[in-house]
């Protein structure tokens, strides 16, 4: 019990800190892409360090703003809605494995908060529940435009959840388990004796469908119809201060959790190619034996590097593509992604039975 | 381990609450929700029996009940929407005529 609590605290602190600095990364990366400097003014006794204090300044600004509730809206529900979104996304991190086992004094600690035997379904269930934050905020603001925004947003989230779930079925077929630890375990094997058996090599189509559906779930630019701040009124227009900040923060948390899921399901999780429990065994011959602590350290660093890469990739996509129109968005989900994922399932079944 | 009759009593209480709610509410949507509560009470009982008899059949039946409930909700809500379009009301007493 205590052990699980400590692990959960470590995971959630890692998760929240990285999401906080993802805002900084997004500002800097967009600045580099657009040939600007980016946020660099926030300082601490004159030290600027590339604007690394900017997220803290943003947080202080959000917290000290007025906590506004529009007239005629239910105060309790109005406060509850952003916390619903935030909570269900934040809990998701507890299923992600950060490394294999850590031995301390003969006792074995699994570097994963909770290893459910329906892990993937649990993540899907939490994502399904986080929709209520969107619907509720649109409805409770007592404003026609936010209501429409909430309906638009929840319709998008539900539609793309189907494609998301179907794209994961291919992964469940090639790695026959719903447990995250076992899925990562299967990926430590080798294909043809040298290629790591990662999900991306077995399910390339599944990866593409998952990435697109997951980016639609994160409500960011190619798919940001729920918010669409420059053209249409989104569901959290009536929110200000810390509650608005929570919605923005939840978006970044979704980016991070998608990077974690991509890493865990398609890119071998914490596995470093050819690194085993006792060190490297290269396929071209030659071993490099390492003590247990260094191996675990390598695994955790590798996991973080992969997660950073996918966060970078998502920010890159977000600042490259323009927004879909709403009917294009729905057509893309229902008429392209879902048939494609069904085709992927059928093709996987045929290839596996050969 | 939790004794099975706890679950059965819970299931009975849920079912009765669904029934009473269905009888005293006057709008179609809440009545429909009460039907879902009654289905759910049956699910609780099935899961409890599956556990106590160590047989998976109960869980399979719950799986089918949930699927059928999804289909039923889609059609039922479509009908409620149609009733609202015709009568501009979802009260049961307003749709008492046989003619539309």
């Amino acid at each position: 019990m205590i052990e699980a609590l400590i692990k959960f605290l470590c995971a959630i602190v890692w998760f929240l800190l990285l999401s906080l600095y993802l805002t900084w990364a997004e500002r800097k990366e967009s600045a580099v892409m657009q040939d600007r400097v980016g946020a660099n003014r926030a300082n601490f006794f004159g030290f600027r360090i590339l604007g690394l204090f900017q997220p803290l300044a943003d947080a202080i600004k959000m917290m000290t703003k007025e906590d506004f509730t529009p007239a005629f809206s239910k105060r309790f529900l109005h406060n509850l809605a952003p916390f619903l979104s935030f909570f269900f996304v934040a809990v998701t991190i507890s299923t992600i494995p950060f490394g294999s086992h850590l031995m301390i004094g003969g006792k074995e600690f699994r570097l994963q908060v909770i290893d459910l035997n329906v892990g993937i379904l649990f993540v899907l269930a939490l994502l399904a529940l986080s929709i209520y934050g969107v619907i509720l905020s649109g409805w409770v603001s007592n404003n026609r435009w936010t209501l429409l925004g909430g309906l638009r947003g929840s319709a998008q989230l539900i539609s793309y959840e189907v494609a998301l779930g179907l794209s994961l079925i291919g992964i469940i077929m090639v790695f026959p388990s719903l447990k995250f630890s076992e899925i990562v375990g299967f990926q430590s094997e080798l294909l043809f004796g040298w290629l790591p058996k990662w999900g991306v090599f077995l399910q390339p189509l599944g990866l593409i469908i998952f990435l697109m559906a997951a980016m639609a779930e994160s409500e960011r630019v190619p798919f940001d119809l729920p918010e669409g701040e420059s053209e249409i009124v989104g569901f959290f227009t009536e929110y200000g201060g810390l509650k608005y900040g929570l919605y923005m923060f939840t978006d970044f948390m979704k980016v991070l959790i998608i990077a974690c899921l991509l890493t865990t399901l398609f890119f071998g999780g914490y596995h470093v190619p050819w690194l085993y429990a006792d060190g490297f065994h290269f396929p071209w011959g030659g071993d490099w034996l390492l003590p247990h602590g260094i191996v675990v350290l390598f695994q955790v660093i590798m996991f973080n590097l992969k997660v950073f890469f996918f966060c970078w990739l998502q920010i890159l996509i977000r600042w490259t593509y323009p927004r879909f129109r709403y009917d294009q968005l729905m057509d893309f989900g229902w008429k392209f992604l879902i048939p494609l994922s069904l085709f992927n399932i059928a093709a996987t079944a045929v290839l596996m039975s050969l | 381990m939790i004794p099975i009759y706890y679950f059965l009593i819970l299931s009975a209480v849920l079912f009765v609450m669904g029934t009473v709610g269905f009888l005293i509410k006057k709008d179609l949507i809440t009545q429909f929700m009460c039907v879902e509560v009654m289905l759910n009470a049956a699910n609780v009982a099935f899961i409890a029996f599956a556990r106590s008899a160590s047989s998976l059949n109960g869980q399979i039946i719950v799986f089918f009940i949930i699927t059928v409930a999804a289909a039923e909700a889609a059609v039922g809500l479509a009908i409620i929407l149609l009733v609202y379009r015709q009568k501009k009301s979802i009260k049961t007493e307003d749709s008492s005529l046989m003619k539309g």
Partner: protein, 165 residues
Amino acid sequence: MAVFLFILLSLTCIGSILGMILSKNQAHSALYLILAFVCTGGLFGLMSAPFIAAVQIIIYAGAIMVLFIFVIMMIDIRKGLSPERKKWILYPSLGIGLVLIIELIFILSNTLVPSKAGTIESFGSPKTLGKVLFTKYLYPFEITSVLIIAALVGAIVLVKKKEEK
């Protein structure tokens, strides 16, 4: 620990269903019902049915209730709400409820099966459940897909506005 969790979840479940019946606003009723379904999902998890628990939350709380809330949002709440209830219906229905619960508890206390000691570890896990579902219950499972398609098409045909002639 398990008994404590059971009491917590079942009390929340019963309380939220009471709230659903007593609240005058349908959207509030729907939110209470979502809470009740999530609690039932937790109870299924306690009863070594993790797969059914996940399905319960994904389908009931994640899909069916979203449909309910969509419909509630489309209907103008101020018009669609029933302000006054006929009082005479209350007491007979409470009486029916009382009779029903006494009857149910009486029946259940007579049919209690003694539970077999020591269920196996993998009972109710996705793997065992899937094996039963795709061997013994294959045809019912396939027929369910036809049912869902029929419901989908039926719902669309019903709600679609006819073109003006």
